[in-house]
């Protein structure tokens, strides 16, 4: 998809005025994932200790990433699978297409994969005459609506049921136009019947991977619908799309992440289906794919190794940071303009698209710190967003007025006596000007602030003068 991250302010403005989106976000933020997460976390006294262990595990893996990737590859091969290393999105797309062509694929079913969204695999397959069918219900809905996901776990969370019904009527034209589609149950039954036939017809199934296990050469997917399992069990070829940072050493290490993943993501103790896949079908197996391919995608991740951004490679894509973010909760995922929204997207998108493309995103945060406090692998997201703000400033990407303002403020902040003099004078002047109403309806240079609220006029003495007095 073409990124629109540059237009974040306009996107956000539109989102704030979108009544249906606001209703969906309201349900999500008030009754959704975050509320359920709090309940299951309260039931697990070890949760905080597990977060710390997961952080340490991921850091250990990153420090030895070459070793664990080579071990993973060796064990995939030992069990009859193939590993394809891809430096870029382009290489990954070409690799997947080649495997699909070799399998004579006309239809490819897909489990939900964020790296698949990142490399835009669907567009590439379609352009080459192969039909990709998303099978996660949310992904299926946004695929037929030709929309990007608005959330990394619940891709269609922005939609109301009427919009889904309308899309189903438009797409499933072979069905009775007068059929009732008023309730989610009816729409689910319709999608289930249609997708069941796609599962059975597909020649290739593509899934992502939540975790790769080095000791066994396994890939692990986590779903609630079972779509990922039908995707990888029924076709004759299974392709796993995975980015390089997904690897962990052992099944025990995978267990540590699994104890955190569902709880952090959807507030479940465990997802309905957690599936560990190791190679193609064995002699004597009555089902399973004949071929098992792992497409290992770098796409900019190795460049983060050893940088201030390395912490971001711990991310397990649970979306807890989205679910708790006041900015995400106000504007939704599409405003961010690309694949990854919310705090994790505000950090990751600039690394993948460049800060020039995505400079607004790290600013779309109040730095309230809620994201870091719920992150299961303790990524310091506010610090990383601040880091991107600094890079944007250094590279002259920040708008001139903001730069000028920041420079002026920095000049004063570095000179405390001058700062106190200027701020005390400004407070006195504002206090005198506002002595009538006690507040300002408008203020020069602060129109964005006063357009939605009044600015109280300063009154009384400054904090510094009170502080000095009390210390005596």
């Amino acid at each position: 998809m073409h990124p629109t991250s540059r237009a974040f302010p306009e996107n956000a403005h539109r989102a704030l005025g979108d009544a249906i989106l606001q209703q969906s976000l309201g349900i999500m933020m008030r009754q959704g994932f975050a509320v359920r997460r709090a309940k299951v976390v309260a039931r697990l006294p070890e949760f905080e200790a597990l977060r710390e262990e997961a952080r340490a595990l991921k850091d250990h893996v990153l420090e030895h990433l070459d070793f664990y990737l080579e071990t993973f590859e060796r064990n995939v091969k030992a069990r009859g699978g193939l590993v394809h290393w891809c430096r870029t999105a382009e290489e990954a797309r070409a690799t997947v297409l080649e495997i699909c062509r070799a399998a004579g694929a006309r239809t490819v079913t897909k489990g939900k994969t964020m790296i698949g969204e990142e490399i835009a695999i669907n567009d590439h397959l379609e352009a080459n005459g192969i039909k990709p069918v998303e099978t996660d219900l949310g992904e299926y809905i946004i695929q037929i609506r030709r929309e990007p996901p608005s959330h990394i776990v619940a891709p269609a969370v922005h939609l109301a049921k009427e919009q889904v019904a309308e899309s189903f009527r438009r797409t499933h034209r072979h069905l009775d136009p007068a059929r009732p589609l008023d309730e989610p149950r009816q729409m689910l039954d319709e999608a289930r019947a249609i997708l069941r036939q796609k599962f059975l017809a597909a020649e290739v199934g593509i899934t992502g991977a939540n975790i790769l296990v080095a000791e066994t050469g396994s890939s692990i997917i986590v779903t609630n619908e079972g779509n990922g399992d039908l995707t990888q069990t029924l076709p004759k070829v299974h392709i796993v799309l995975a980015s390089i940072e997904k690897v962990v050493p052992t099944l025990e290490d995978a267990t540590l992440l699994l104890r955190l993943l569902a709880r952090s993501a959807t507030g479940q103790e465990f997802s309905t289906y957690t599936t560990v896949s190791t190679g193609p079908r064995r002699p004597g197996d009555p089902d399973g794919p004949n071929d098992y391919h792992v497409v290992l995608v770098d796409n900019g991740r190795s460049a983060l190794m050893g940088s201030e951004m390395q912490d971001m490679l711990r991310c397990i894509r649970c979306a807890a940071c989205l679910n708790h973010c006041p900015v995400y909760g106000a504007v939704g995922g599409h405003a961010y303009g690309w694949v990854y929204p919310g705090p994790m997207g505000a950090v990751l998108t600039p690394t993948l698209l460049g800060i020039g493309e995505a400079a607004h995103l790290p600013n779309a945060s109040t730095l309230c710190g809620k994201c870091e406090s719920v992150c299961p692998v303790k990524i310091p997201l506010p610090r990383l967003m601040r880091h991107w703000r600094e890079r944007a400033f250094e590279q002259d990407i920040t708008p001139r007025a903001t730069r000028w303002g920041l420079s002026a403020w920095a000049y004063l902040a570095e000179r405390p006596p001058l700062y106190r003099l200027v701020s005390a004078t400004a407070a006195r002047v504002l206090g005198w000007l506002g002595r009538g109403h006690g507040r300002f309806r408008t203020l020069p240079l602060a129109g964005g602030w006063t357009s939605v609220r009044d600015m109280p006029a300063p009154e009384g003495r400054s904090f510094m003068s009170l502080w000095t007095e009390r210390r005596r």
């Binding site: 989610p184 689910l188 066994t216 190794m305």
Partner: protein, 228 residues
């Protein structure tokens, strides 16, 4: 593409400001891998006797819409399955996996119509055996193999699993140990916690998204291993 492999590994090492790991370091990591170090195991699942383990398993499973029926011996499982299907007006035709634990059950004592083998689209009820179950989260652990097709866990609308009480472990690490004792890693390990579900339309939870609408467990007090 071999260049891609070399490039990616070189970039990782550049970032880490080192070359390939030396032999000593590699040996240390290999030892660490082989030692299967456990991280923190939740207290709720540790040091439980079999009764407490099964109680925890049942409580966690029922929380996520799994139904459980308890019988004393394996021989009672077919009748329990017949009862379950009749109570819910479900078809009395079941597709049973070729697992030996299920093959030797007295199916002829019931009026069920029995199919054996790989489930097809349209098979309404599937019956599977289980490798293990994890009390910690109320999760079943099924593994693929010549006698246990994976698709049987997903295609039927109703999935019935016959679980021996001795197959229930406390926590995941114990299940991994059992799997390693049993031999090579199977092609597929399915951890199943309740019936299939989705909240993707208007955030309303519905069961039976792509996998089974119902997950029913026949829990056998004197399970498969204990059988004389």
């Amino acid at each position: 593409m071999s260049d891609a492999r070399a490039d990616i590994l070189a970039r990782i090492r550049d970032g880490l400001k080192r070359g390939p790991l030396d032999e000593e370091r590699t040996d240390m990591l290999e030892t660490l891998l082989a030692s299967h170090v456990r991280s923190l195991v939740p207290d709720r699942a540790k040091t439980l006797d079999q009764g407490a383990r099964i109680a925890l398993f049942a409580a966690m499973a029922e929380e996520v819409d799994t139904t459980i029926d308890r019988v004393a011996s394996m021989d009672e499982a077919p009748e329990a399955i017949t009862r379950y299907l009749a109570q819910r007006n479900l078809p009395a035709r079941v597709m049973v996996t070729p697992d030996p634990k299920l093959a030797r059950l007295p199916w002829d004592r019931t009026t069920l119509e029995i199919g054996r083998g790989v489930a097809q689209d349209g098979d309404a009820v599937g019956v599977s055996a289980c490798f293990a179950a994890v009390a910690e989260t109320g999760t079943l652990m099924l593994v693929s193999g010549p006698a246990s097709p994976t698709r049987n866990n997903f295609l039927p609308d109703t999935h019935i699993v016959v679980l021996g009480a001795d197959e229930v472990v406390g926590f995941y690490e114990e299940a991994w140990d059992r799997l390693r004792e049993a031999g090579a890693m199977p092609r597929t390990v399915n951890f199943i916690t309740g019936p299939s579900r989705t909240g993707d339309i208007a955030q309303k939870l519905e069961l039976g998204a792509h996998g089974p609408l119902r997950l029913h467990i026949v829990l056998v007090e004197h399970g498969a291993q204990a059988r004389p």
